[in-house]
Symmetry: C2
Subunit: 132 residues, 2 copies
DNA sequence: ATAAATACGATTAAAATTGTCGTATTTATT
DNA sequence: AATAAATACGACAATTTTAATCGTATTTAT
């Protein structure tokens, strides 16, 4: 429990790789995938999603690839996680309303408080802290 | 991602229920299961595990049940989570050593740092904050 | 003796995550 | 114009993890 997904993991690996290598130049999905031994297609999808979110910029065609577009020091880990995986919650019932016994539940409020602490923590850390 | 498991959820519901109801008297798994609409057998197992961990005390036989044994204000959420679910890590590679590209990995250290922050946070919160 | 509770390993079911496939589009190069 | 190498992306399959159930044993108040 309390794990991050591979998607997030691959995204962070890619960002750090791009930043360390050449923040201006382009890096292909293939390069990253082979370098770190991760599935290329899955990585590609994640990169495409980050491109849609304007975290990185995509360039098509041969010689194409990705480069960092956003200021990584200004994107909190909370925002990053939520862009890739949706709202951050320790229990599903914070977002989905199909919990029948939601009224009986006696820990919703206290867990909500802990959840807020966690979101707070991730709000105070930026992507830069991972990538540099 | 970053979710707690149902096991932990049920354990917290049970603890809070026991504390709110009657810290001295016994509460059966059945009572809690029916009250909150959760699977009895699964809850029972979780209670049994907490009993083995001396968080609660089990009494067998009819009229048996469980009561809180430990001082909930002295058990951190980190310890509680780890007793129920094993070591707390955002990535598996912190514990399992079967990641082949562990050397190439460029985010192990930074994620480790974030993980430490998270463990720190849960170290500072006690079970009591959830149950009362 | 019976019934109601805990104890717990083994198994199954369900859900979430992870990975692959197939096809389309873009564009530098020849 | 043809080709090749890259991104784009929906649909599907495989795997893993989580959740739930089953079956049986043990304990003990009545």
């Amino acid at each position: 429990m309390l794990k991050i997904t591979r998607k997030v993991e691959y995204a962070l690996i890619a960002l750090r790789h791009m930043q360390a290598k050449d923040p201006e130049g382009l890096t292909s999905a293939k390069e990253i995938a082979t370098h770190y031994g991760i599935p290329k297609q899955l990585l590609a999808k994640t990169l495409q999603q980050m491109a849609r979110d304007n975290i990185i910029q995509a360039v098509q065609g041969p010689t194409g690839g990705y480069r960092i577009r956003a200021n990584l020091g200004k994107i909190s880990l909370k925002d990053f996680f939520e862009r890739l995986e949706g709202p951050l919650g320790m229990m599903d019932c914070f977002f989905e309303s199909d919990c029948i016994q939601i009224n009986a539940c006696n820990i919703r409020v206290p867990i909500q408080r802990i959840n807020d602490n966690m979101r707070d923590m991730f709000s105070k850390m930026t992507l830069m802290e991972v990538t540099q």
